[in-house]
Symmetry: C2
Subunit: 165 residues, 2 copies
């Protein structure tokens, strides 16, 4: 049986910016990420869940070296768009399970989350695709996360350094 | 210059389940997706943003044929975990821009969102990776989204049907 997960990737150089309560209408994400691109800020992941009552939160991660720039850009945009507060966390890491055809196996996601839970690691954010399950966790728990995930998926203990780092 | 986006994928057979206000502590995602896997429900994407005040929302999409099963499973779990309400929307579509090395180009995300905005399409959810920008939108706007995105990224008007459909 083909292994659903072929590697664990980690990026411990991330910072997360969250803009709370952006107006949930066309053009808002465009303005935000347009401004961010103008500022030469490289965005890694973007996560937005569906909002309630016409507003929603948007988070994105950047390389930690760009934390200040990203935070101030986000604050400027939040002001212009009538959003709520901006939160910054420079102590996060992104950990991912990578594989082909993981989608059909919701058991893979279940195992991924159960593995982190057993290690006492809180999952702050989740973003998945067919070939990748990514979570944002506390940077201090990144090493533990990589270790337990390798063990859970029967992988070599060489963690694959995320090319985004 | 290499084209950052090489294809537009669409899945118009999706339904979205959102569980509001899950307790934000280790083990919650594990229980939820463990139960979902047990029920044989195939999950496409999972999105969770960082919560406020010890709770957060988790959304996931499934094939529309599994809407009822996914919704009732989510409600059962929400009850057990002390979460808030469960929302179901069977009228969504997932639209994605796919490419290699998009991450370095936050201009790609900006163009993607601006293109949808100009067509009056509201972005309900966002989930990205280095090689894919995915959004959940109203199913009724999926055709427009695919058309305007092909045009914006200079692509053939043959949309690549998402293998998850
Ligand atoms: C919040 C933001 O994503 C908004 N819904 C938009 O379409 O731009
Ligand atoms: C909400 C859920 O993701 C929780 N934080 C967990 O770690 O399981």
């Amino acid at each position: 049986e083909k292994a659903p997960v072929t590697g664990i990737a980690v990026n411990t150089e991330e910072a997360k910016i969250t803009i709370r309560q952006l107006p949930d209408q066309p053009g808002v994400a465009a303005k935000l990420f347009g401004k961010i691109a103008e500022q030469g800020i490289n965005v890694d992941i973007i996560v937005q869940n569906i909002g309630a009552e016409k507003a929603t939160d948007v988070s994105f991660t950047v390389n930690r070296s760009q934390t200040e720039k990203a935070a101030s850009t986000a604050k400027a945009i939040a002001g212009e768009l009538g959003a709520g507060s901006v939160e910054t966390d420079a102590k996060v890491a992104k950990v991912s399970a990578v594989g082909i055809g993981m989608r059909a196996s919701s058991g893979t996601a279940a195992r991924f989350f159960a593995t982190l839970a057993e290690a006492g690691i809180n999952v702050q954010m989740i973003s998945t695709s067919e070939i990748r399950i990514s979570v944002i966790i506390d940077e201090g728990q990144a090493n533990d996360a990589v270790t337990v995930l390798h063990r859970a998926f029967g992988l070599d203990t060489e963690s694959e350094k995320d090319p985004t780092s």
